[in-house]
């Protein structure tokens, strides 16, 4: 009987029976590799950078100088102070656009199929996407802070609360990204996701305290606006930035964010498995 020299893979030979620790290490390594891949891709997609930086900056300028004069608010520093936490929160939420579109695209192109047929961590696609998108979101937030400062925004509540505001914005953005990841995995079609997969973000961010005081809306709308998570998170960001009651909205924000993550992360993981 003849034997055939079957090609073998030298490096992966040991990963047959991985222990928990080695599996965790590979999980982190694979997640980082996919993150790096996504970041390289971002730097080569100018349209995405425009979306991540220039569009939010335009929003700041438009709201500050076009709508701002007509919107009466009662916070220290005037409308620009009111606007900045709102627009940072909104931009963090809209960063999730890239998450949903990117994941749907990877599924459609068969990249996810290839990954799933490889002996790599199952979590890497999701972890790599969320990590890369979080980094991109932080860039957006920092640019927004710079531009807002240039047009008159100042923190009124000291250094650590300011850091807290940025942290909350990012946590909020990551949460929305988790929802978007689920939508991307579930719809799996780049065009559909791009055209209607995230349409819900518009009412959610605009019918909130992000740009105008809720008290200026009709009563029936106020009921929604006052009790939805975007308002709660942005009110908390505003309190952190400008001073004000912190405790109540802090709890509510935490509960909303943790609750949404607890629902949508498992959903996203499940949808990924079923791709």
């Amino acid at each position: 009987m003849t034997t055939v020299a079957t090609p073998t893979r030298p490096a992966a030979a040991g990963s047959h029976h991985p222990g928990a620790w080695s599996r965790f290490r590979w999980g982190v390594a694979d997640g980082l590799t996919v993150t790096k891949r996504n970041l390289i891709a971002y730097t080569r997609t100018p349209a995405l950078l425009v979306f991540a930086v220039i569009q939010p900056v335009m929003f700041v300028l438009l709201f500050r100088y076009v709508f701002g004069g007509a919107i009466k608010v009662n916070v220290p520093g005037g409308y620009v102070s009111y606007l900045t936490p709102g627009i940072i929160g909104q931009s963090a939420a809209f960063a999730s656009f890239g998450t949903a579109v990117g994941l749907a695209r990877e599924i459609q192109k068969g990249v996810v199929d290839r990954y799933r047929s490889m002996p790599m961590a199952r979590s890497a696609v999701l972890v790599g996407r969320l990590t890369a998108d979080t980094l991109r979101m932080i860039l957006t937030v920092l640019v927004l802070l710079g531009v807002s400062a240039a047009v008159g925004f100042r923190f009124h509540n000291g250094f650590w609360p300011a850091v807290g505001m940025v942290g909350l914005a990012v946590a909020f953005g990551v949460t929305v990204c988790a929802v978007s990841a689920y939508i991307g995995f579930a719809i799996r079609d780049e065009e559909s996701v791009a055209s209607f997969g995230l349409i819900w973000l518009f009412p959610l961010t605009f019918v909130s305290a992000a740009f105008v005081p809720v008290s200026s809306m009709p009563g029936w709308l106020q009921a929604f606006a006052n009790n939805q998570p975007v308002t709660i998170v942005i009110d908390e960001m505003r309190s952190l930035a400008l001073g004000g009651p912190l405790a109540l909205h802090a709890w509510e924000s935490a509960v909303w964010l943790v609750g949404i993550l607890a629902v949508f992360l498992p959903l996203a993981v499940r949808a990924y498995r079923r791709v």
Binding site: A41, R114, M118
Partner: protein
């Protein structure tokens, strides 16, 4: 029969079933692939080819049956299977923003090759697939043929023992397709076992050691290209008719050569008649009859039946019925039977 210096099958599939909702994609298929050979899985769109590949590559769990790849159970040991397989699906699964080199290096890292080894492997594959010139360009600038080559290279990063190619040349122009065939032949000469799905009868004929014909989730025939052709029953005399208006008369003139009515292709003015094992005798008779009827022909030849003929004989419908196959031509048999697709430009 397959002649290979192998020690047993690399893939064994038994009684595989899979439904998606009310659609039965696989209704119990069995086959095996000898190590170091190519199995061609031939069938129309929706026959269940891709589902079978997805089960064997651990992407989908079957409802029933077993599938072993190099003795490893796809259901019970999916991770062990993933270590020895490569997959290239229907679309080029590459990251378009990344360069060809980056695509391969990152896959190497995800296969847990050391960094240096990932780089070397990428270099080897870029050389082998003639992508060195384009190695540092984003993959989005690649032509269709280059993208497919990169995708195939990507499936080989970890030197898999068993490779699955799902319609590797669909959508490629003939030149790229020929190039791809050459690459695929080389792979197997290096000892890799290959399962290849295709809608192109020509492709299965060219590449596969063994062919299974799949239709509606079942294997309806298996064997080598030759044994399948024998099933159809013999050779075909085929000729073109110079004066289109005399196509019918031409068919009448050769009708006596066969019990089966001649097939007509009015568009191309071609007549084909199945002549069993009468071979050259039938050719002589055909020439005489056509001459007597005063019909001028444009080339008359005896050919072996094509896999198109096989598919028609087995299933009663064309392989590419639903497909806009680039080579598709319509032919009508005199009578009510469905028509086969004419195969042309065969390599062999």
């Amino acid at each position: 029969m397959t002649t290979s210096a192998s020690g047993g099958p690399a893939i064994v599939v038994e009684g595989l079933t899979k439904s998606f909702g009310s659609v039965q994609a696989l209704r119990g298929i069995d086959f095996s692939v000898e190590r170091g050979t190519i199995l061609g899985v031939l069938g129309p769109n929706g026959a269940g080819k891709t589902t079978a590949v997805r089960i064997l590559t651990t992407l989908v769990r079957p409802d029933g049956g077993t599938a072993l790849v190099e003795g490893r159970d796809v259901l019970r040991e999916p991770d062990a299977v993933r270590e020895i397989i490569g997959l290239a699906g229907q679309s080029a699964a590459i990251q378009e923003e990344l360069t060809g080199r980056e695509n391969l290096e990152i896959l190497g890292r995800l296969y847990h090759l050391p960094k240096q080894r990932s780089k070397e492997r990428a270099q080897e594959l870029l050389e082998r697939f003639e992508l060195l010139d384009a190695a540092n360009r984003p993959a989005r600038t690649y032509s269709g043929g280059m993208a497919r080559r990169l995708d195939l290279a990507a499936s080989l990063v970890a030197e898999p023992a068993v490779l699955f190619l799902d319609e590797p040349t669909t959508g490629l122009d003939p030149r790229s397709r020929n190039g791809m065939w050459g690459i695929i032949r080389d792979l197997v000469s290096g000892g890799t076992t290959l399962l290849l799905t295709t809608q192109y009868l020509e492709e299965a004929d060219e590449l596969a050691d063994e062919i299974i014909v799949v239709d509606h989730g079942r294997v309806i025939a298996a064997g080598t290209s030759d044994t399948l052709k024998d099933k159809v029953g013999g050779d075909v005399v085929e000729f073109g008719v110079l004066d289109r208006s005399r196509l019918g008369a031409a068919a009448d003139a050769v009708a006596e050569l066969s019990e089966v009515a001649p097939m007509l292709d009015p568009e191309e003015a071609v007549v084909a008649v199945r002549v069993g094992n009468q071979g050259s005798k039938a050719v002589v008779q055909a020439v005489r009859n056509l001459d007597a009827a005063g019909i001028e022909t444009t080339g008359l030849a005896l050919r072996r039946p094509s896999l198109d003929d096989v598919f028609l004989a087995l299933t009663g419908h064309q392989a590419a019925e639903e497909e806009a196959s680039p080579k598709r031509r319509r032919r009508r048999r005199r009578g009510a039977e469905p028509e086969p697709t004419r195969q042309q430009g065969r390599g062999r």
